[in-house]
Every structure is written in structure tokens, then in C-alpha cells.
């Protein structure tokens, strides 16, 4: 049986659930906001027992689960209404207890993970991603990660004045009443403000232009590539995600060497799934970053990219091989 770790509003999971149901693949969807109302136990006295009760049914995970899709487990109070939430500190405490319980699922015998949480966490680090990419044989843009504006000026001295700045980690800022997103942005070296840059390290990269953007979804050896098409070239910017209406997507075939590079990169990183952002500039493909939990539902829905089917192929193979 496939165990899906996510939340109710992660609609991309629905594509996989629908495909599982079509194929009659056994699955168990565990939504983290339901954990407050379910029972979960681990005992290790004599033999490992991991028991989960969902919707009144009790599951012995050690004997039933063959694959775990660690898709997008959230916080248990994430969708609770305010007057049902404890203090922020208590929420954090409760969340951490559950995360550790979920991490302990790594104790389960002979289970296939997509992705194993520690591998995902490691590969969230963009410095590690780029280092892996260079070692794997990808071209990468010239990059410095620093909190020193002087180091940035020195690093790019004599080159184009325009560079790219982006966050080293999650670009999402969650304020109580409003979330903010920091897009990758092109700046001039003159825009750097020493005291602001000094607050925390950021990524500063060579600006690749003109460029074509690609989103490459890798599922084990399956490589699904999409080109991000800008309908109005003048709308081109460093971060296509901020464009409102000038973007469309097209399934494409990457050069075979690039396909192998992407698949091998994901495997060497200890992942079985990854969403890689590539750009092609003047005939060279550059690795920008990988997202170990990358979103894909928008591509499945808009252009029929067969991600759910490819995921289910892997899960089905694991289920069948362990029957």
C-alpha cells in the first residue's frame, strides 16, 4: 500500500489519488491537519509496531506500507480557525512532535520513499544544489552567496553591471495577515546597499540573457520537460513566475545528454523526485536549481504533463514487487 503524506488542500495529490483509484492501487492518504483527530502509535519493545488509525480504520504500517510519498505534510493547526488554536509556541511544540513521529516512519522495513525526508532537506540548500550540479557536469551560472556587497562587486567586477539576486532559502514570507513572495530579480551592481545586504546571505548570479526557461520534472528515470514560453518576448524577465499573462507551457524533448544529466543528478542527490529549473542561453543549458518537493499540478492540469501517471508507475512497481 502507498502512504501519502500531505494535506487536504494539496490538490496536486488528487491527480495521484484519482490515478490510484483508476488502477485500483491501494493507498492511504494521511492529511496532517487530521492528525489531531486520529491515533498514531509506535512501539519498539519486541518488534516494531507502527499503528495508524484513519477514519476509524486501524493500519499496521509495518506490514502494509510498501511506499511512502512524502508529498507536502503541513502543520496540524494550519487550517484550524483561530479560536481553536493554542498559542504560537504551543502550536510549534505540537507540530514538532508530529513531525518527529512522521520522521520515525523511516523505521518501517523495506519501504520505498519519495523522497526520503533527510535527502529532501539536504537538497533544499541551494549552495549544495549548485555544487552537486557542477560536479555532475551541468553548466551553472557564476554565483556568489554572501552577505557582503563588496564581495559581490568584486566578484562581478569587469563583467556586466546587471546581475541576478535571489533568496538562499524559502522566498515566502508569512506574516499573520499577508504572505509575500520574493522573486528572482535582476539588479544593477549600483543597487546594492551594503547595510541591507549585510543582514543575511543572498544569492547573486550572472544574468543569463537571452534565455529560454525549462521546468524539468524527474521521477526516477522518467524525465518530463516543459519549456516556459513567453508570448511577448519584451515581457521577458529573470523570473518568469512573476509574469501575469504572457506565459504558456509546451512539452519538449531535451537533448539526450541533458535528459541523462537530470536523471543522474536526482539519483545522485538521493532523491527519486525533483523539479529542476534549467535555462538555455546561447546554446548552453544551465542548471539553476532543483526543488525536491516541486509543484507540478499546474502542468498536469494545463498541458496534461503525465506526472501523476509517472508517479503511479513507480508506486505500482513497488507495490507489485513486494506482493
Amino acid at each position: 500500500m502507498l502512504l501519502i503524506l500531505s494535506n487536504k488542500w494539496d490538490v496536486s495529490v488528487d491527480f495521484v489519488v484519482k490515478e490510484c483509484r483508476r488502477r485500483k492501487l491501494p493507498y492511504l492518504r494521511l492529511n496532517t491537519e487530521d492528525l489531531l483527530n486520529e491515533h498514531a502509535s509506535i512501539s519498539v519493545d519486541e518488534e516494531l509496531k507502527v499503528i495508524l488509525t484513519i477514519k476509524g480504520c486501524e493500519y499496521d504500517l509495518n506490514s502494509t506500507i510498501t511506499s511512502i510519498w512524502c508529498r507536502r505534510p503541513g502543520k496540524v493547526y494550519e487550517f484550524s480557525i483561530d479560536n481553536e488554536k493554542p498559542t504560537e509556541a504551543v502550536q510549534k511544540f505540537v507540530h514538532e512532535q508530529w513531525i518527529i513521529w512522521l520522521e520515525a516512519l523511516s523505521l518501517l522495513n523495506n519501504v520505498y520513499w519519495m523522497n526520503e525526508p533527510s535527502a529532501s532537506a539536504r537538497m533544499e540548500n541551494k549552495a549544495i544544489q549548485l555544487d552537486h550540479a557542477r560536479k555532475a557536469g551541468f553548466s551553472i551560472p557564476r554565483t556568489i552567496i554572501t552577505n557582503s556587497a563588496d564581495k559581490v562587486r568584486e566578484y562581478f567586477s569587469g563583467e556586466q553591471r546587471k546581475i541576478v539576486a535571489k533568496a538562499l532559502y524559502s522566498p515566502l514570507i508569512e506574516e499573520p495577515d499577508q504572505d509575500y513572495f520574493i522573486f528572482t530579480t535582476s539588479i544593477e551592481l549600483e543597487d546594492l546597499v551594503d547595510s541591507e545586504v549585510a543582514v543575511c546571505p543572498s544569492i547573486f548570479q550572472e544574468c543569463l540573457y537571452p534565455k529560454r526557461d525549462f521546468r524539468v520534472t524527474v521521477i526516477e528515470n522518467k524525465v518530463l520537460a516543459v519549456e516556459v514560453k513567453l508570448d511577448t518576448p519584451e515581457a521577458s524577465d529573470v523570473d518568469w513566475r512573476k509574469l501575469e499573462s504572457a506565459v504558456s507551457y509546451e512539452k519538449v524533448a531535451l537533448p539526450s545528454g541533458m535528459v541523462d544529466l537530470c536523471a543522474n543528478y536526482v539519483k545522485a542527490a538521493g532523491l527519486s523526485f525533483g523539479a529542476i529549473d534549467l535555462v538555455e542561453c546561447k546554446g548552453t543549458y544551465y542548471f539553476l536549481e532543483i526543488n525536491p518537493s516541486g509543484e507540478w499540478g499546474w502542468l498536469q492540469k494545463q498541458i496534461g504533463l503525465p506526472v501523476a501517471e509517472s508517479l503511479c508507475n513507480v508506486f505500482e512497481e513497488n507495490i507489485r514487487s513486494k506482493v
Binding site: 489519488v17 480557525i81 535571489k166 543575511c200 543572498s202
Partner: protein
């Protein structure tokens, strides 16, 4: 106190407070099939089966086509 350099490039996401999203949400989770359905649709179709332009969008849909792995409520 100085703010981080990149903050000046931050843009508002669409999402209001998460709790408001839940209360106003036009979709509901159907426990019997483990998928989200549209409440407003007469047939209560699955959200993933609703045409791309009218179905659930990412929370940053007005300023972004894409995703972010830390965004746990992509389609709200």
C-alpha cells in the same frame, strides 16, 4: 533596523489569512474519495476536473505562474 536587501523585491501573494481561505473556500474535501470537490459546481465535480481557468489556482496566481515548495496551500 535595516531590512534584508531582498525584501524590497517582495510582492504580495494573493492569499489572505489562511483561516479566511478555509471559511470562504468554494471547494470541500470529500473524505469518501480523498479528493477536493467544487461546491459551486452543480455536479460537485472534482477540483482537478474543472477547466484550468476556472478551477483552483495557485495562491499567487495573480502575480505568478509557478510554485514554491514552501507554499503549502498551492491551490487556494
Amino acid at each position: 533596523m535595516k531590512k534584508p536587501f531582498l525584501i524590497k523585491f517582495a510582492k504580495n501573494c494573493v492569499s489572505p489569512k489562511r483561516v479566511d481561505i478555509k471559511l470562504d473556500y468554494e471547494y470541500e474535501y470529500d473524505d469518501s474519495v480523498d479528493m477536493v470537490r467544487s461546491i459551486s459546481d452543480p455536479a460537485k465535480s472534482l477540483a482537478i476536473d474543472i477547466a484550468a481557468n476556472t478551477g483552483p489556482m495557485t495562491k499567487k496566481a495573480d502575480i505568478e505562474k509557478g510554485e514554491d515548495n514552501k507554499d503549502r496551500m498551492m491551490w487556494a
